[in-house]
């Protein structure tokens, strides 16, 4: 990362405890302006808590940092006024209409020419003709678009999105990511937590978190290398049988189907190579060594760590 890029989030060694349970543990992150930064990690790994700290909702127990140049500890109000935070759960009022919700949020941010801004947001969303519908009557995809519109209403320079696409259909998800890309081009910095692999690959950089600790952090392209996976591709017929046979063989950590072949990955290149070659020769299959992709790395990371909620004293939502 070059020094002349403006750093929007710069946080060092922050920790947060709920009771005896450390939810965020010695966490550092630097996010440059205009980046789309992905937060990956299993449930309960501390993604939500970290995002809440970054937008000034929670005060860290230890560590310090700045967000948009404002101190996390002493200037949370300044941060709140400039950040768009989209919660995991739909958090607008179900019993208010779409317009009333947007108008309410606009008033919270003391926006000038509020009416114009709300009209523009409705137009932008394509919700102008449904402005008087109750939010409760919207489908999951529309609710998510409304929530995004609400957290963009004050033109934030930083977006913090906590699993924004959970429970949203693929078409709406794609539209959503197009919007994120568009915003990113305009210089808005986006930090987004997700469970979906196809979303992770859209991020410029990725931080992987488990049990409140950041395990991996870097540009998307380098993640597989950081994880240290080697992948072989095997092709031929009867792939399902082959998958069963090869699973659990020496050196094989993970087997996944990709198109007309299977990708066999492992962390010990020598042992894995021997296993793959043995099977390929015996069954007369085509094999090739592949550069391990983000997909493999992602599956590896997600299957490797269990649900972090299995620990006691989980934080309140």
């Amino acid at each position: 990362m070059t020094q002349d890029v403006e750093i929007v989030i710069d946080v060092k060694a922050i920790s947060k405890k709920f009771g005896h349970h450390t939810v965020v543990d010695n966490f550092d992150i630097r996010v440059p302006k205009g980046a789309v930064y992905g937060f990956l990690g299993p449930n309960g790994s501390g993604k939500t808590t970290t995002i809440r700290i970054l937008c000034g909702l929670l005060t860290p127990d230890a560590g310090s940092g700045t967000c948009l140049g404002f101190d996390l500890r002493t200037e949370p109000e300044e941060i709140k006024a400039r950040v768009g935070y989209m919660t995991q759960k739909f958090s607008l009022y179900q019993d208010l209409t779409i317009r009333e919700n947007l108008d309410f949020v606009a008033r919270m941010f003391s926006i000038k020419k509020r009416r114009n801004r709300v009209d523009a947001a409705l137009e932008n969303l394509g919700l102008a003709d449904r402005a008087h519908q109750l939010a409760a009557d919207l489908s999951g995809g529309w609710k998510q678009r409304l929530a995004l519109a609400a957290c963009l209403i004050h033109d934030p320079k930083l977006l913090l999105l906590d699993e924004p696409t959970a429970g949203v259909d693929p078409k709406a998800r794609r539209d959503f990511w197009n919007e994120i890309r568009r915003l990113s081009k305009q210089g808005v910095t986006v930090l987004v937590s997700t469970h979906y692999m196809d979303e992770a690959v859209q991020c410029d950089s990725i931080a992987y978190i488990a049990y409140g600790k950041k395990l991996i952090d870097g540009p998307s392209a380098s993640i597989a290398q950081q994880v240290g996976l080697t992948t072989y591709r095997l092709e031929g017929l009867h792939l399902a049988d082959l998958e069963d046979r090869i699973t659990g063989q020496p050196g094989v950590v993970q087997v996944a189907r990709f198109g007309t072949g299977i990708h066999v990955s492992g962390t010990d290149e020598a042992v894995l190579g021997k296993t793959v070659k043995k099977i390929a020769t015996a069954e007369n299959r085509r094999w090739s060594k592949q550069p391990a992709g983000l997909e493999e790395a992602f599956i590896y990371l997600m299957t490797g760590s269990n649900d972090n909620f299995a620990t006691p004293d989980r934080p309140q939502q």
Partner: protein
């Protein structure tokens, strides 16, 4: 950044009013509840019950006996529903609830009176509910004395009960007719206000947390005070409307007097509303969901009814219960309202109640503020 923004406060207030308007059922309940309760309890509760079912075991049938029975009938306390035959039958009637009273007139009742043998009339009462029978039993002696005196004349006059050497002159102050509703109705205002104010506040705040909207709210620049005032003020207005509706209905239907100071009432009433809102707020910091908030609110209602002196005289409770009752806001508001409406009290007469309510408010407020800070982080 401003410490308190009027425009954000107004935004929260407007939002709260829109939500209140959309929730028709709750809104209807807030206005309908006082009237329904007033009708129900104002008419239903009677501490001096009349027309209680009574049966007679008649062992004598002379003119004196008939005079006794007809006097009991005219007293309104007793309603004669039939005859029983012997003690066993009388006991059965009491047990089954067919009668609340069995009057046993012994054989030769009239002859024994004339002889001066002082015969006994047995009044067997179902005293499992003391309140139901107490008034009637107390009234009976007076009724019978009059009857006997009227019937024993001339030479028999010497057998009449001797008059007491002194007389007691009872003045029923503030409620000369002894109507229960005059006591119950003003108290009911305290109960209704505490019921709705505590519950509505608790539920309205917990709802924000439960539905996740509080997280969105506190992620905006809005200040906690703006949220709290914006959310609570609409319910203060609801309390005003409830009180107006209630007072109008109670003047129209129950002819309740309002003799004391209007300002004394107004101050106490506002203080009481704020205490209840604070209590609702405290509950909201404990409850995790709307159901718990409801249950906790209901939990506060029973002491308000049973320990406050609403149903049973406060002075009649044991010391420890009075101690507990003194911690219930309704206790002090009830005294205040009864003093002001019935006893012609002014501000000077109810300062004790003001102080008590203010103390409770302070304690609840401190605990609530402490808990509120903990839940934010």
């Amino acid at each position: 950044m401003k410490w308190f923004s009027i425009s954000r406060f107004l935004a929260v207030l407007t939002k709260e009013f829109i939500q209140m308007r959309r929730d028709r059922l709750t809104f209807a309940m807030m206005i309908g509840l006082p009237i329904v309760q007033l009708l129900l309890f104002g008419f239903a509760i009677n501490a001096d019950p009349r027309n209680l079912p009574t049966m007679i075991d008649l062992g004598d049938n002379g003119p004196m006996t008939r005079a006794v029975i007809s006097a009991m009938k005219t007293s309104d306390y007793f309603k004669f529903t039939g005859y029983v035959d012997g003690l066993a039958d009388g006991e059965r009637a009491l047990r089954t609830g067919e009668a609340n009273f069995i009057v046993v007139i012994p054989p030769n009742f009239e002859r024994d009176i004339i002889r001066g043998d002082k015969p006994e009339i047995l009044l067997a009462a179902d005293a499992s509910d003391p309140a139901a029978t107490g008034g009637a039993v107390g009234a009976l002696r007076g009724i019978l004395n009059v009857v006997i005196r009227q019937n024993l004349t001339g030479a028999l006059a010497g057998n009449t009960p001797r008059a007491s050497p002194f007389s007691i002159n009872v003045q029923r102050e503030y409620n000369p007719e002894g109507r229960t509703s005059t006591n119950i109705v003003p108290g009911l205002l305290g109960i209704i206000l505490s019921m709705t104010m505590v519950m509505i506040t608790a539920v309205a705040i917990v709802k924000e947390y439960e539905q996740g909207t509080m997280e969105m709210l506190i992620a905006t620049p809005v200040r906690p005070l703006e949220v709290m005032f914006g959310k609570i003020l609409p319910y203060v207005l609801v309390g005003y409307v409830q009180t107006l509706v209630f007072l109008a209905a109670s003047f129209a239907m129950f002819d309740i007097p309002f003799t004391g100071g209007k300002l004394a009432f107004f101050i106490g009433f506002n203080l009481y509303i704020v205490v209840n809102l604070a209590l609702g707020f405290l509950i909201s910091t404990v409850a995790k969901n709307q159901m718990q908030a409801m249950q906790l609110s209901f939990f506060t209602i029973l002491p308000s009814i049973l320990l406050s002196g609403f149903m049973f005289p406060f002075a009649g409770m044991p010391g420890w219960a009075q101690f507990l009752g003194a911690g219930v806001p309704a206790t002090h508001f009830l005294r205040l309202v009864r003093k002001v409406m019935l006893k012609n009290a002014g501000i000077a007469d109810v300062t004790g109640e003001y102080m008590a309510l203010a103390t409770i408010l302070l304690v609840i407020g401190l605990i609530a503020a402490k808990r509120y800070r903990q839940t934010l982080d």
